[in-house]
């Protein structure tokens, strides 16, 4: 009975996601086309191997893992909606927290895709599955990541699915069936990003990563970039769906980003001080990132652009200017892009330059690699739009099981 009803709910969501006006179709077609372009690029990678990327034995992780890291942060940032909504009982936040959880679902799916495209043997994905494969737990941080990301995905899918299903059935969700999960998800959100940071922190052979502050930095930057992303998303949702999201939600998020951006900048400053003031041989990677090494300066313009964006964004956020939505949006865009550079390429690539044997070989993503990334991002947006398309009418009470005749 219950299973049948839930099936009906999922089916009606699927049907609903195929209906919309011309603008909706245009948007979805665009995303699907980009996804297909990415899929095409990935098909080529499957045939020729990771040779078609810019990676090498020198820089063996690149833009795939950079995006993975960034998106784990976006997924974790759902906690920044859940905490005010459920810990501080902000009722405006409670109405929109589910959008953050849906975003977390989309972000985790993108994370998993980025990991899969980075694998040399995606056909052996089952080797990583707990129980059927041979997971090196608790030794390998990657095995921890598989577990925490998987569980986080399940928690968020359960909370979103259950709340929406209940509303769809026209009744209030039972607190006992979702509130415990909500509170677990707060701690879990911190854990997914901490484990992802530990993935890098635990490597003694890469001094650029082997720093205790990396974990806190990951959390701070995630809780800045994630809410910034959500601020923009909410404005799109209320513009295109008519779902009421009050400005107070945006300004609560602004206060969060204010603090997390400041902490992020502070922690980054601590790292930069330690590297350059100590000035040991281990500074090589940081020097490569900020000033270039032996004439190789591939990342220098990027990281300074990121520093500039993060600084301007922080200044905007702390000034009263950003009480105007336009400036808040500007600050958010700058934070999103700045942090993407800083903890994506700016974090992954320099750890490989110079190599453990002191060679300086640079990395630039290839066209094919970039297309795969763009494809995954498009697929993520596609997924998120589909989920919103199903969720919004249920939350507004426009679509229930009665009206759908299921």
């Amino acid at each position: 009975m219950w299973v049948k009803n839930y099936y009906g709910f999922v089916w009606s969501c699927l049907v609903a996601s195929f209906r919309g006006n011309a603008r909706y179709y245009a948007w979805m077609t665009l995303l699907t086309v980009i996804t297909l372009v990415g899929l095409n690029a990935y098909a080529k990678q499957l045939v020729y191997g990771l040779h078609v990327t810019g990676m090498s034995d020198h820089v063996s992780w690149g833009v795939y893992i950079a995006n993975f890291t960034y998106l784990v942060g976006i997924a974790a940032a759902a906690a920044m909606l859940v905490i005010p909504a459920y810990v501080y009982r902000d009722s405006d936040m409670r109405d929109v927290a589910i959008f953050g959880e849906l975003l977390a679902v989309a972000a985790i799916v993108m994370c998993l895709l980025f990991v899969v495209v980075d694998m040399g043997r995606p056909d052996r994905l089952w080797h990583v599955m707990p129980l059927i494969g041979r997971l090196n737990w608790p030794q390998s941080m990657l095995s921890w990541d598989v577990i925490v990301l998987g569980v986080y995905l399940l928690i968020n899918m359960h909370v979103c699915g259950y709340v929406l299903y209940s509303r769809y059935q026209g009744r209030e969700p039972s607190r006992w069936l979702y509130l415990p999960f909500i509170f677990v998800s707060i701690g879990w959100a911190i854990s997914i990003h901490t484990v992802t940071a530990f993935l890098y922190v635990g490597l003694g052979g890469r001094p650029f990563w082997n720093s205790a502050i990396l974990g806190p930095r990951f959390i701070a930057s995630a809780f800045a970039a994630g809410p910034a992303f959500i601020v923009l998303t909410f404005q799109l949702i209320r513009r295109f769906s008519g779902y009421k999201i009050s400005d107070s939600v945006l300004f609560t998020l602004r206060r969060i980003i204010q603090v997390t951006m400041l902490i992020n900048m502070f922690l980054l400053g601590c790292e930069v001080f330690k590297e350059f003031y100590t000035d040991s041989l281990h500074v090589a990677s940081a020097r490569y990132l900020y000033f270039g090494l032996h004439g190789h300066e591939g990342l220098v313009p990027w990281i300074w652009a990121a520093v500039a964006m993060n600084t301007v964004s922080t200044l905007l956020l702390v000034s009263h200017r950003s009480r105007q939505i336009v400036y808040l949006n500007l600050a958010c865009v700058l934070a999103i892009v700045g942090i993407w550079i800083e903890k994506g390429m700016g974090l992954i690539v320099p750890a490989f330059v110079p190599t453990p044997l002191g060679q300086v070989i640079e990395y630039t993503p290839s066209v094919n690699e970039t297309l795969v990334c763009v494809g995954i991002w498009a697929f993520g947006f596609l997924l998120y739009t589909l989920m919103l398309k199903s969720a919004v009418p249920i939350l507004t009470g426009e679509r229930t099981s009665d009206r759908n005749g299921v």
Binding site: L36, K44, H51, S56, S60, I361, E362, Y363, S366, V367
Partner: protein
């Protein structure tokens, strides 16, 4: 429009997938185990289109070490072995193919390392232990023999320092290590 997209995919209109160059056979030239000194032979003298070993002449006329003068015939014999500047430092003068040590004891050519050991004690000890010089074959005695190269197989006794040699090709960073030219 979608059909056009499909066509684009099939015709592969974008991207820069560069197929890997087929591997060139370089043969198995580095599986040979020659030592740094090659050939292993004694110095030879070239004269009117023939090559001569030392003994071929010196069995007929003995060396007079007191004269200490270099003859034109011997310019190709490089003698750069520390303080050993005379033939009789190592060779018996009237019979060059017999070695002789500082006290005058004779040592067979086949056991030349014993002569080397008279001066190079620590090296000789290391060699006997199997840690100086290059072994071949088996590290595990029960499976087979470990063949040790002797001193003169690697070092020319007349000029024992290793001669410079041409190194094998450098790694190709552009094609190697998975790199595809982006390096």
């Amino acid at each position: 429009m979608l059909a056009l997209l499909a066509l684009c995919f099939v015709l592969d209109l974008w991207g820069e997938v560069e197929p890997v160059q087929p591997g060139q056979s370089k043969g198995r030239q580095y599986s040979a185990n020659e030592t740094v000194r090659d050939p292993l032979l004694a110095p030879r003298l070239e004269k009117i289109g023939f090559e001569y070993g030392c003994v071929e002449c010196h069995r007929n006329f003995s060396l007079d070490n007191k004269r200490r003068q270099r003859l034109a015939e011997h310019t190709s014999i490089e003698l750069d072995h520390g303080a050993n500047s005379r033939c009789d430092n190592c060779h018996l003068l009237d019979k060059l193919d017999v070695l002789v040590d500082y006290e005058g004891s004779h040592i067979a050519f086949e056991e030349s390392e014993k002569l080397c050991g008279k001066c190079h004690g620590p090296k000789y000890r290391d060699w006997k232990e199997g840690v100086h010089g290059r072994p071949n074959g088996y590290w595990l005695a029960s499976r087979g023999e470990s063949v040790k190269a002797t001193c003169v197989q690697c070092h020319s006794p007349h000029s024992p320092a290793f001669k410079p040699m041409t190194p094998a090709p450098a790694p190709d960073e552009r094609r190697g290590s998975g790199g595809n030219g982006h390096g």
